[in-house]
Symmetry: C2
Subunit: 413 residues, 2 copies
Amino acid sequence: MGISIDYDRFVETMQEQAKIGATPEGGLNRLALSDPDKAVRDWFVDQLIDEGLEIRIDAIGNVFGRRSGSHPNAAPILLGSHLDSQPNGGIYDGALGVIAALEFIRTLNDEGIKTHHPIEIVNWTNEEGSRFQPAMQGSGVWAGTHDIDIQYEKSDEEGNTLEEELERIGYKGDAPTEPQEDYESYLELHVEQGPCLENEGVDVGVVTGVVGFTWGEMNFTGESDHSGPTPMDSRSDALVAAANVISQIQRIPGMLGERTVGTVGEIKSHPNSVNIVPGETMITWGFRDPDDDIVQKAYEMVVSEAKHAAVREGVELEYSETMRSSSVEFADRCINTAQSAADELGYTSTQLISGAGHDAAHLASVTDTGMIFAISEDGKSHSPQEYTSWEDCYKAANTFSNTAYQIATNHSN
Amino acid sequence: MGISIDYDRFVETMQEQAKIGATPEGGLNRLALSDPDKAVRDWFVDQLIDEGLEIRIDAIGNVFGRRSGSHPNAAPILLGSHLDSQPNGGIYDGALGVIAALEFIRTLNDEGIKTHHPIEIVNWTNEEGSRFQPAMQGSGVWAGTHDIDIQYEKSDEEGNTLEEELERIGYKGDAPTEPQEDYESYLELHVEQGPCLENEGVDVGVVTGVVGFTWGEMNFTGESDHSGPTPMDSRSDALVAAANVISQIQRIPGMLGERTVGTVGEIKSHPNSVNIVPGETMITWGFRDPDDDIVQKAYEMVVSEAKHAAVREGVELEYSETMRSSSVEFADRCINTAQSAADELGYTSTQLISGAGHDAAHLASVTDTGMIFAISEDGKSHSPQEYTSWEDCYKAANTFSNTAYQIATNHSN
């Protein structure tokens, strides 16, 4: 009924990609459009050519390879993820999804299987958002969420623009940066980047959607006074106001949903000297939940808390929401097919919603979309400690391949 | 009975020194042993020479000028403060004390007054502690608190050592860096750097001592996880632990003394990215109180709170006290003489303890010491907003001069 990808070749291919941009700690430094990203793209294109795929590179550097189907008018199924990494990232992350898709194609070729639907494999540009913002840039442009001309102007810390870097590494292609036909579906495999699968003790995760989120920044402005002679009741301490909000951001999730998370990831304080009452403090907020109403409620609560903290400490508050993303629900038929694939392979699984953003969230506005998660041991990602055993990688890749296989060979779609 | 310094010349001299290292915002950038510090030292030495003083520069750059007294064996009275500033400091700070002492000498010379006691004027090296640590370095060495060879090795952010910079600007003198005779007393004038005098609506402050303090650093180490997929109960958030301690440091003073202050001046968090749970956070603490037992109690409370916060958040704690300074009580006879001087001049005054450290705190271990404060409007200091009206500067300088005059002319000491 199903297919089975080759364990040894799959692991070898994972190890091969992990050499490109490898760090001494065993991780990856393969920032979007850097030299290592060019190298891994070149390597990836070679693999696609070896498999006889028709290569297409679009104007934002997304790399597609197409394998034709047996039916001339059948809609293509799109499979992929991303090969770029964080500056000190791990070797699994999105690469696992790209390599799984490649192994699926190789298996079809080895076995001479002709699928009803054409199959496209894709490596999306700049999923990480570390060198250029926003994250999921290539898929966002392709899905029509972002304007390419605006994205071209985005620059890294050295002032290099995205467009210049695309040209420099030779990946500003001429294919259109939007779908030219209806797609049958999009499937993506990624590591979970969280501890849920491991905690539940299952082999793979079937992803039902992606949480919505709000990100923002708030700045408190008080008075930078000498910390010795300034009595407590004469102070306007920006850091104390910020600290109260940090504590509250940890508490807000407990008042909302079971899956709500709230984080202050970034803080900057000025003048940041042991002997001076902080006059200016900036913190970020981030809340995520599968329910957009809860995200909105978290936003309202953090703004309210910040206003109260500012009044209590006698400081000024400015705040702005820097990003809001609605939650995404994946297509039932993709979820069900992935679930069947896991079941038929005899892998234990659970259905879960993704707490992290993925290219699949953009694709869900283009076509029916599904995702599969591999275990992340200890929930670690974006670090050299990111780890998924080869057995767990294989189970996830095999589940992914069988899901794709079932959809690609279905004549009724 | 008393003397009266010349208002116009005093203001002009204050304005003259304020040009050396002036910033566009109207403040000073006269870091210890920088080119502007050399320039103001050169200017200061010229003034001392003009007044016929005997110049002495010691091996840590403290500049002394001596005016002989009428009695050959009478102990000298030492008057001074510091001319260095913070990188973005104000024009009053310690300069007010040095210029007041200079004007006092000029007034004695103008009026041909011979004092019983010799008078020395001093500009201490590196009171600010901004470029080289610790603060109050020159007076600390001279008073025997610090070892000069250790201080010579201290370096600024560019790696220049104190000794190299003393040599570079020509202020590594050959006079001994310790008292060569018994001193009659030390008097210092400084701006308050706090709001108490203004709040009480008085002209000048008579300082009774300097608070003790504890400074320290604590580091929390948790786990840097992706903020999306990591549930709240799987986190070890270093910043949340730190925030709880920041809140508590604001509350500890209210549980201790009326004059206790507690401050977190500095915070650093890693990796400091909106999308990552903070894995490492460092904060400083600072507590001050006139009562050393209360300082010790504050230290114990903050360490206890930090340990509890670390357990609550599941993070590791390391902490160390970086400095502890005992409180200082000034000499009753200096306090009383200063009080009489203010009263006789018809200035309103209050007695207060200094919340900031001063060179006078080191000098109190050498000789009977007293201090006078000028008003700091809005309590501002170490910024271009530092402001004391010329009238208030003059009242403080005149109180200082008359205090010095009474002691210097007292034959019974």
